[in-house]
């Protein structure tokens, strides 16, 4: 039977990365935890940013995690979809803004 590269239940094992490199792993999780605490941004705003980035990074674990996190915070599906559009807009914008480079090159090369 073909085994997929991604397994949804692997997300639960994320914490185990500390087993093979304890100090770095713990430092990462401390940092991670701190980042998502209420700060100048609300935890809710951070959750939506994470959801958008999860999509642009195309990380299935992160998408699962921050969709659930959003639901727990009472974030509506309309708000989640809008957040993803922000990510998508930046992604497509990042592609299209390179069009200027293409135009510059064309203008330079063409007589």
């Amino acid at each position: 039977m073909a085994k997929p590269y991604y397994d949804a239940s692997d997300l639960r094992k994320f914490g185990k990365i500390t087993e093979w490199s304890e100090e770095l792993g713990n430092k990462f999780f401390d940092y991670y935890g701190k980042v998502f605490e209420e700060g100048a941004l609300t935890a809710r705003e951070k959750s939506l940013i994470a959801l958008a980035v999860a999509h642009t990074e195309q990380c299935p674990y992160c998408i699962d995690a921050y969709t659930k996190d959003g639901l727990e915070r009472g974030i509506t599906k309309e708000q989640m979809m809008e957040a993803i559009h922000v990510g998508a807009a930046i992604k497509s914008g990042a592609t299209l803004v390179h069009g200027v480079q293409m135009m510059n090159k064309v203008n330079k090369l063409e007589m």
């Binding site: 659930k68 727990e72 915070r73 009472g74 509506t76």
Partner: protein
């Protein structure tokens, strides 16, 4: 969504023994997750025992005008279990002598018990000062005979605790049924009109939030702020506090978890979020739950699993508080629902 109880649908899970079997097998039998008893032992909290009795929670019957998708009571219009006058009389005898200060009335829709008002009046005469009625709100709009409920609640200074899963219509109706949101809003406005929920008012109106799906409740305070802002802006509704309650994996919610293939993930979430601090204040340590037919349970959830108290005294007719307080609380894997994160009880978070 379903309009009948599991019982009326002859669903396998209407059988409490079947529910217990599910909660004890699979991931808990093969050791992938620790049983609740083992988790308590690990954290030196076993056995769980009652502290001072504060709340008598009486279930006046399983009949309800709603059929909510997550209901742990499996309540609905087709449920005929209703507390009789005779059992009410036995409860009143206990109320006269109990050390508990609060009478917490639940159901089903407790207001649908034909003797609901008489019972409240008799309990008030028997000396109860703190009343809680767990109202689904829509009952106030269900029939003309219930329109006067807000005034009745006010007359006895009843603390009204109402279910409201979300501040948007879509999420509310999906969990509780079509039209529930609009009726709930109208009912809240009626409660506000007689003085409930206003800032500084002694007429306490609290809302209960529980997640509409296979996820845990977020931060209670943050949710309360969101609810307050939205209900005030959209409908000029005021309320006092929001209680965030975790759905326990029993009855209709268990049925949903299994049917949607969320059961294992949900149990992992609950166990991961186990918080020993919450254990100290779980509601079974200060509450006795009485069923419609007078039997005694550690909590409303154990009542729905037919797990009677581990005591010689098992019925309100034989009530003996001292004897009853000297018992171990019956636990099983569903208890993880009350100890996850900030904990969960009929009064919201506990840690």
């Amino acid at each position: 969504m379903a309009t009948k109880s599991l019982l009326a649908r002859n669903n396998d899970l209407a059988n409490t023994a079947r529910q217990m079997e599910i909660l004890s097998s699979g991931i808990f039998a093969d050791g992938e997750l620790p049983t609740f008893a083992n988790k308590l032992k690990e954290t030196h909290l076993f056995p769980l025992q009652p502290k001072k009795l504060e709340i008598l929670q009486i279930n006046l019957g399983y009949m309800c005008n709603q059929v909510c998708a997550h209901c742990h009571v499996d309540a609905g219009p087709d449920r005929k279990e209703i507390m009789t006058l005779e059992t009410m009389q036995q409860c009143l005898e206990v109320i006269k002598n109990t050390g508990a200060h609060t009478l917490d009335l639940t159901g089903g829709a407790p207001e649908m018990n034909p003797n609901f008002k008489e019972f409240v009046e008799a309990a008030a005469k028997a000396g109860i000062k703190d009343f809680i009625v767990r109202s689904n709100l829509t009952i106030i709009r269900a029939n003309k005979k219930y329109y006067e409920l807000p005034k009745f609640f006010k007359k006895h200074n009843i603390h009204v605790v109402s279910s409201m899963p979300h501040w948007t219509r879509g999420k509310t109706d999906k969990q509780r049924g079509d039209g529930v949101f609009d009726k709930s809003i109208k009912a809240l406005q009626m409660l506000n009109e007689v003085g409930y929920g206003r800032e500084g008012s002694d007429l306490k109106l609290d809302l209960v939030y529980n997640p509409s799906g296979a996820f845990l409740p977020g931060d209670q305070m943050a949710l309360e702020n969101d609810f307050k802002k939205a209900l005030k802006t959209d409908f000029n509704i005021d309320f006092h506090n929001l209680f965030a309650i975790t759905n326990l994996p029993i009855s209709r919610f268990l049925d949903y978890l299994i049917a949607s293939e969320n059961y294992e993930d949900y149990m992992f979430s609950l166990v991961d979020a186990y918080n020993p601090t919450a254990v100290a204040n779980v509601m079974c340590t200060n509450t006795i739950s009485v069923s419609w037919d007078g039997y005694l349970y550690d909590c409303d959830f154990n009542q729905m699993l037919n797990l009677k108290v581990a005591s010689k005294v098992q019925h309100i007719g034989d009530y003996n508080e001292a004897l009853l307080q000297d018992r171990n609380i019956i636990i099983n894997q569903h208890c993880y629902g009350c100890t996850a994160g900030a904990g969960s009880s009929c009064q919201g978070v506990v840690a």
